[in-house]
């Protein structure tokens, strides 16, 4: 994919980890956290990991460690119970158990975080004498994305990519897309009074190269806080809006 990125390198740090991705997939598939269909979830996990690699996101090594653990659990689940006992005599519990325990614990902290978010929002509208004020960095992890998780975006991207027209073998297409061009394109398409559906950004005849560049442009614009992405509820369609707080004249994407 490097051909698309020669001129404009998108550096995106992913602050979500493998457990976030697993919880996302569990929720998306509406499966029981205590009875994870390991084969299905592993396949989807690998699919998302490949997409993140394709986009050249800075994914953490922990994603690869988790992929290995999932594979191991999957292979142990495939063994008949009697054989499994022979191999590990002392340990008869479900091979998924360690992972489930970790997921459940993390989930409870995620829920606690949502409570904190509500309190933070409430407190933002109360002004007190002598109250401390937290200064957030504009581009620190304090402010990225907000409501929507990176996996929501990747999921939407995946759907568009699946519908992309197959590359024609006979023809050499000279059209060369760059992330920089697509940033211009997205900024021209999205206006303040006219929110845009995520899928509307991608034409039916778009090639994979174009889709990837457009998506990277979108991620970069989110990072630069030029646009906002919203969802009514999780797994709903993603809506793209221009950030009303940013003046178009200020756009400096460092090209």
């Amino acid at each position: 994919m490097s051909a698309f990125q020669d001129d404009y390198k998108v550096e995106l740090e992913v602050f979500e980890g493998p457990l976030d991705l697993l919880l996302y997939l569990i929720k998306k598939n509406e499966v029981d956290i205590y009875d994870i269909p390991i084969e299905k979830i592993t396949t989807q996990y690998m699919e998302y990991m490949n997409l993140m690699k394709m986009l050249d996101l800075n994914i953490a090594g922990e994603f690869i460690v988790m992929a290995a653990s999932l594979m191991m659990i999957k292979s142990r689940m495939l063994l008949p119970v009697e054989e499994r006992d022979e191999i590990e005599e002392e340990e008869e519990e479900d091979p998924r158990w360690d992972l489930v325990r970790q997921l459940v614990e993390y989930k409870s902290f995620k829920d606690a975080a949502i409570r904190l978010e509500e309190m933070e929002y409430r407190q933002e509208n109360i002004f007190a004498q002598g109250a401390g004020h937290v200064h957030m960095e504009a581009d620190g992890p304090g402010a990225l994305l907000g409501e929507i998780s990176i996996f929501d975006l990747i999921s939407a991207f995946n759907e568009v990519l699946k519908n992309a027209r197959a590359e024609e073998i006979a023809e050499i297409v000279a059209h060369h897309y760059t992330v920089a061009d697509q940033i211009d394109f997205v900024l021209r398409t999205v206006s303040i009074d006219k929110p845009l559906m995520f899928h509307a950004l991608f034409k039916e005849e778009s090639s994979r190269g174009e889709i990837i560049c457009t998506f990277l442009a979108l991620l970069e614009l989110i990072r630069l806080r030029q646009i906002l992405v919203k969802q009514d509820h999780q797994f709903a369609d993603i809506v793209i809006e221009k950030n009303p707080d940013v003046d178009v004249a200020d756009v400096d994407i460092g090209m």
Binding site: E13, L19, L144
Partner: protein, 233 residues
Amino acid sequence: MPETDRMPDLKEVVGALIFAAHRSVSAGELRKCLLDTAEQNGGETNAFKEVTPSNIKTSIAELNADLEKNRCGFTIGEVAGGYRLESSLCCGKWVRVLLDRGKTEKLSRPALETMAIIAYRQPITKAEIEGIRGVDITHILKSLMEMQLVRIVDRSDLPGKPFLYGTTRLFLDHFGLKNLQELNDMEPMLAIRREAEAGVKPQEALPDSADPKCDVFDEDDIGELEEMDDDES
């Protein structure tokens, strides 16, 4: 009788002190002030010599009932172990414009999750937080420290003596919490598990405080925070 000679009731005095303090004052400080005044002035101010912290709490509750009944636009809030005047939640929009605060600032979900883990499991090492989140948190931890929501509280006895992280007074302030105990009331599941773990591994508890989650900041903390405030201004 001129107004200066009128003898106020406790509720009025407490209200005046909280109004004039321009910062958050604890029940202990209010009580000390009443005792000191009686000592210095004697006479009728002796009426408040026997005041207990619970008298003060009752006065504040009465004041709040009055303020709310009359819709004054502000109440007395209890945050981080102290009392202070706070504007009403519903009036936030207008105050925001007056103070030129712009739109609300929020922490991202990954930052909030890290914050929650530190808040419920403090004191905790970076490696333990990463174990729960399953991902490197160097960036997030650094910015939470820069925002002064998290601080180093101690060093662990584990090999390498890693830092132990905990929350600051500003954390309570930012989220509008009275004390850390309030967190446990919010998520009893997390609090109970914490105690169960502490029971199994008592050596992990902080040596200087038997129950770190109930730790309402001591004088050192307040001193530290005041220093930090001075640096900023």
